[in-house]
Assembly symmetry: D2
Homo-oligomer: 339 residues x 4
């Protein structure tokens, strides 16, 4: 069983069916097609407000292109130290923004706390052009350590941003897992909380290769579209990005997939804990961070289970990621196999 | 019939079959999978030399990432005025290279002539740091006006580059059409002619979304891979880029598709000319540029034919692009319908 | 006699006196000092409108920093082919703007004509994100070929910019020579003509190292100041930039110097023409472009006169640049020495 | 008395004399003049090895241009959290390098310790293209907190860099103060310790506006000169940068000035301590960081003394900076005035 990541998974049947269907006829390029034209409406319904949707093939592109429209080349982006944009996207943010600086801060389980954010902003150097002024806050929902901002926490972050006149961006690579966990409306933790733009992840949760930039501020659209084009992220056969996205949100496939992944993680957590593992911290989504003793780690490996050590949380901590495609029955069987 | 572009086409059955097959199991992310690992070997065989293959989803990405490894931020890239990188990729080259400048030159039917190139290079300002020194030449094969560099012409360009110590890049968005037209080995017009890197197009010729950066100089690999990552073009489910590419080159699908498109263009050209159209210049691949009188243009439109005016060649010139999926029987029927 | 350029000259006595005077006491850094605080007022008086002044040490910095506030990273800057920003500033514009593209056009004697500009703008590709949209026009006053836009010509250019919603920038490396030639008020050819920002040159005309970015649109100030800082152009001992500038505009030193240079050029032109030279085109400022036969060119060289060939105007054309420090008596003596 | 910074000072008499002398005749522009041509030789003698010297007007330019030649756009620069490049140069490093990331680390009194550096490098994420690999270490000598790396410490840092294959850059804005403090040869703490390039500061220590990029690796020259040009830092009247620099190093003016500043700081420290202040940490150069009680701080202010609070070291800590121009007799008098 492969718990190495949720990006080791294939794409889901609904998306295959849609791509197969769409792989037959001609259609205008670069988003002029009927499928692509449905995106804004579909996502406006999903978010219960007027949004603009700009799809790209990767999460890094979605994050960095969004940020390039939210900050000046000389501005700062506050994020958590563990943030994907800080730890896993090379120098992408500086590249796309023309030099903006990440201003990383701490917080438990990879989440930024509103009070701490307020103090962090207040504590930033304010020496005019000499220092870098924060212009945007970027949070990850669900976080890189598998935790989820509650509706209240998201609003509190948004309030701090508003207080200081900062933009708020959400890296939603696992947004579906967060919504499935919270059982809230997608609006509750996004625009209602003051989020200006979100990268709405699909790739990890059942798509082949598509994440959507969803803009709650229509003024950002031109800059985002220009940035997408010049960075080579405007697909000529744009409809296949759109096809994936529409199949992903139709009939709540996105929530079904994410709910499944979250459930699988819960089942796995129970089994691991029954065998002596302990959670490094509670898991809200599809990612587990657990202490394993050497013995258990070896047993799992012997049983063909794949997972990664997570040294930043300690030498005995490992990450397990469940996904939309995880076979829960097989997870249950694992219990017997490692007993 | 849609001759607006070859990017209005869907993807071909061989690629759908391969994606469907690959859409079932887990596999390592970011190119660590078995499919991705086959790329270098498959393309080394195809090109009959040791190459490195870095796939991306768009031609703009393939072109601009390649160029970012071939020129300094303060260098110049010589290209034809009509080049896609000059006319259709926004400010992509400057963005990826950190500021390198396109140095456009003229030439008949969007091709650079070796002698003219030699003179153009000699005529470039040479005032040390004040002026921009050319560091690379970029040619498009087949060209943006549907013409193809012969083996001899490609070698002549390569010789001029070598003489002046410049890199040579090939935008191969329609490379398959060029090879199918020439009936040559892919090596004959690439590394044997001095080409350092090529963007090997697949999207227009039957893929869903993949073009491959093929490096004939292995030293470029690190910079290209770093540039791909930081620009958000490294797909997590990398195997689906690889799957498309392998299906594209297996059993010469790429040549079969391109040959079909070229043939369809020839058939269409004959029919149009029978009805009084004249070619703006001979067509070597799947693109036609033809003079149409108003009457014929209207008849074609009335018959449901889609095509674009091409004002840069004159107010009566139109472009027709045939593709791998063009129904040649239907083209023949067109003859009757517009008679 | 050195007519190679006006940047071979030393700095003028008024500036030496001011620097000497200011080289004694302590003063706040980075523009907080009393001298620097006088700049906005002094230049607002000079231009008869409220302006913001941001001094830098070079013309390239003044031009490129200004443009970075006037165009998007994906925008275009229309300029003449001969423009300094196109021919002599390496890849500076792309570097400072984050990738904006120069869109060079032609025009007699390095000047852009309003009608041609109007047609050029209309003829620019307009394919949304694919092509580069012009956002700014940059003209050089006096031009790189020593000619000057009349008040009417400047207004006509400004009207075309307004019509198309484009910004207007003026490279004023030799602005003083233009004003001295026209005998107009500085306002007449700048903000009254629709100019948004100007690089107000001083270095070539008597300063040691300072050109001023003068903003007629106060909204540009923040971006310009941020760009200046991050590009290393904010001097800690800012007052010495300010000192040079204030001494330069006090008592009309700038116009006196430029008038002298223009007069010297006229005298030189007369003498050269008496000896058989012909002007390539009429000279409006301190630069002459003249046809010399081999004999006369040799005589001048033998007489110790320094000047440059100017091959872009023809193989027999040479440039002579007079300056604030040119000894006119010595120019007259030249007449005898080459007779 | 103004102890706010050393950049509140004017320029020194030797430099005024040299500029006055040089402000008379014509000379080739852009470094082609005789004065500029002497720089390499003068600094090769000073450093006792073959160096290349590229002067610019500011320390930020010297630092950022140097780093742009030392790291890739996707690379990392390790520096101390307090480093000027991290705290005081806006987003300059990212701008000049095309996106390279600062990787700040801690260390006592703004100095990096070799052992800690070794561990820091080992602890950096190493996930291929996903994470940012350190390519260069930047140290400041004297540091931003007025401390100096000993010869042994500098060599130890250099050894760690060599071990890991990293470049070593030295921000020498106050290099003179460090050399004066150590009494060593300039070579001992630069190229002999493995430093590849240094920004050799002059502005704070008696110049008007010049810092020199000194390259110990000649291969860096082209990139540095290109970066200087495109960033607008190549002065047309280059000789005035060179004039300042030559006057600065001639007759050891640089060491005389720095020694004076260091001495003045020592005198001031003694007096402040006599009045109850305590040093936050020992001072090695011309900067003091001292705890003052409210009473003493007020007395000093009442006596007309200017200085800055330094909250990062604590709410009762203040910085005093002595300079080449500090009147030591006046400092002694201060003793009486605050008694």
């Amino acid at each position: 069983m492969n718990f190495a990541s949720d990006n080791v998974t294939p794409f889901c049947p609904e998306i295959l069916a849609a791509l197969t269907q769409e792989g037959k006829d001609n259609a205008p390029a670069y988003g002029g097609d009927d499928i692509s034209q449905q995106l804004d409406t579909a996502f406006s319904q999903l978010f219960d407000t007027d949004v603009k949707v700009i799809p790209v093939a990767t999460g890094t592109a979605a994050n960095c292109i969004s940020l390039s429209a939210l900050v000046s080349p000389y501005g700062g982006v506050i994020c958590h130290h563990e943030a994907h944009i800080n730890e896993d996207e090379s120098t992408g943010v500086a590249f796309f923004t023309g030099g903006a600086k990440l201003l990383p801060m701490d917080g438990p389980t990879a989440k930024i706390e509103a009070d701490a954010l307020d103090r962090f902003i207040a504590g930033q150097a304010n020496r005019g052009v000499h220092s870098v002024a924060p212009e945007c806050v970027a949070i990850t929902q669900a976080s890189e350590l598998g935790t989820v901002y509650s509706v209240e926490e998201a609003h509190a972050i948004g309030d701090v941003c508003k207080k200081h006149g900062l933009r708020l961006f959400m890296d939603g690579a696992r947004f579906a897992n967060a919504v499935a966990h919270l059982g809230c409306h997608p609006a509750d933790i996004t625009w209602k909380a003051g989020v200006d733009a979100i990268s709405f992840g699909a790739t990890k949760n059942g798509a082949m290769a598509v994440d959507a930039i969803v803009l709650f501020d229509n003024n950002l659209k031109t800059r985002v579209e220009q940035a997408r084009k010049r960075s080579g992220h405007l697909h000529s056969k744009h409809r296949y990005l759109a096809t994936q996205l529409l199949a992903y949100v139709k009939n709540d496939v996105w929530l079904k997939n994410a709910g499944h992944a979250n459930d699988a993680a819960t089942v796995l957590a129970d089994i691991l804990c029954q065998h002596g593992a302990t959670l490094a911290h509670p898991s809200d989504g599809n990612e587990l961070f657990v202490h394993l003793d050497t013995d258990l780690a070896e047993k799992l490996r012997a049983a063909g289970v794949q997972f990664h050590p997570w040294p930043s949380l300690g030498s005995t901590v490992y990450r397990f990621v469940a996904a939309w495609s995880t076979d829960i029955a097989q997870v249950h069987e694992l219990n017997a196999r490692i007993s």
